[in-house]
Amino acid sequence: MARPAFLKDWFRIRRELPQGRRVALTAVSFLLPLALWCVVSYVPWIWHPDVKIELSAEREGVTTVFTAGDHVSREFFPEFVEAVRTENKAVLAARAAGTPESGARRKNQKLLRQLAPVAVGHGWLGHDDAQNDAVLYHLWRDLATGTKTATKPALSEENLGIIRQNWAQLSAVSSDFSFRKLPDEPLLKIVPQGKPANPVYLPAPHEVVRAGMRDFRAEVPEGELTMGDRYRKSLRVIFLGFLWACVIGIPIGILCGVFDFFSKLFEPFVDFFRYMPAPTFSTLLVAVLLAGDAPKVALVFIGTVFQMILVVSKTTRLLDPSLLEAAQTLGAKPRQMITKVVIPGILPNLYNDLRILLGWAWTWLVIAELIGVKSGLTEFIETQGRFRNFDRVFPVIILIGVTGFVMDQFLSWLHGLLFPWAGNAGSFSRGIARCVTWPFRTAAAGIQARLSAAEASRVASARQESP
């Protein structure tokens, strides 16, 4: 059977696709997860295992109280609704029998506040003013008479009926709120309303974007940290930790790769030490280095440096030994062989190693920020996660991801610039690399233009002088 043409075009063993298709697939690789997230979030019949309560009701003799915005499971919600209906039936039955309960004023006052989410949702009441009974009382009237129509959320026919019934009773006594003038017999409860929702840990894209915009722009009171401050603090920790790891790790790694002496002296212990997870040292680090950034920097350092020594020594050993032999036959002395052959020879691979290790350092950063006094972006994630404000957590997680990604792409582009002789650094998509590095490239082009202009004028003036 012949392979269909489209299979032949798109799936070829170890062949690069044409530029256009590569770009398309790169775009898809980002759009696909995003589309999936949107589908799960916005198509109500896909997944949505919860019901997000829009209008709630308190039940008699049940202490668990749900408020608007709470999530309950899809299975439980009908039960909840049914319980409230049963209570309403009992009230109606008692009323019909002429033996209504009495002393229900306080309950009725609470019952009137069932509409608070509607009022707040439409901006008829402020968030902090949700218990303004006078306004709510008029809302009952407006909704009953149809002067106002609720859309956030839209009220069910059943609930509108209940509102009208209740208002008939309320308006018979008073047209304005007064606790004393509330009916003494129980009113009907608004039946809970809700809509299908995903669990709180999967907020919808727009919620995440909104929360992110709010948090990143938020002005904070004196003494607290803005998101920018947290970001800078996190970057500082990771770079300091990584810098120290480089300062210690690279020379030792190169020495281990060049001299068997150092390899046998250091590597066995380093190999052993790296199996002790860096976070297990956190309490020790805090005890020794006390609070502040020092133990965090140290944790990133410990997490990175041992890997670095091993990776750098391996890279050093991978240098083509015949280059060293060639250098020897050209009269290079041992020290020159290290400075003039080993170091320049391994530089491109070393650079790539560091790029990968920097990616790892981000992992250590997150752990580091949790030890001692929590700090930086991770503290924010921790705190908001505890309050289950996951819509505020995701933007920060994405921020970390984007930072790492942009940095990596930038470094890979820089690799091509620094080591043109070493081939591709393995930036996985030139398209993305181009987007990410656009500002840097523009700057570089500017500098180059200025340099070549200076060179040209220098040459011109030299020419004028020479004859």
């Binding site: 083509d320 032999e325 060639a326 036959t329 050209l330 009269g331 320049p344 080591f419 002789w421």
Partner: protein, 297 residues
Amino acid sequence: MSTLELPGYRDQSPEVAARFERLRQRPVALEVRGLTKRFETPRGVVTALDDVSFQVHKRELMCVIGPSGCGKSTLVRILAGLETPSSGEVRVYGEPVSGPGSDRGMVFQGYTLFPWLSVKENVMFGPRMAGKSAFSAEREAREWIDLVGLSKFENAYPHQLSGGMKQRVAIARALANQPRVLFMDEPFGALDAQTRCKMQSYLLDIWKNVDITIVFITHDLDEAVFLSDRILVLDANPGRVHEVVEVPVPRPRSEAQLFDPTFMATRKHIDGIMHPPGSGQKETPVMRLAVSDPDVV
């Protein structure tokens, strides 16, 4: 098939004989005496070289030829000081060799150019190591690059060059150190036939203009005869000197000489040493079926 009457490879014309006489008068550039090299391997001791002795005179071009694995690379590595012999000694103009040094240049089969340096910087490497200033090293490098005909490419990087160009850079780089002996280990082995021919002529051109003694390793018979004054033929397992052949082909050499009777005679002689009649590999037989295929018969 008509048998061509070839002269004996030992029959030298008077001019050639006089040339070899003059050659023998020259001082000995490289002296190898009783060189033995054994490798300890997990499967036992491998004797790569066994009691190898020979001499190379000043400004001679000697080829070392032998089947693959006979120890040619091992020999040249010992000469260059990159390996230590198990016994025996090597002297360059009377001085014993005890390690790599800039008095002996080396050109490897794998180019071994420094990929992070431009052509010019590669050639400058030796002089810079010897402590010359960047300025004088650069001036020297330019001359050598000019000699191998790569002036246009002095700022190119190795990855931008073809194999033949790379090897020319490697030669220039080795010569820039002004070594007294140059070792070349199958330098043209990785090149295609046409480029190899060109490179051989280049090499002779360069050698004509440079005061240098060359020991050239190859397993290509034509290359050996074309280039050398004398050919050292090695036996394999263990590597031993079988014979040192004086090539009776007059100089200057040209490609036209490939069909010279003297050339062919020398070639045939060495070929006979390397592939003795009767020891040659039989042709690979067509695979025979154990059970005949009934559908085919």
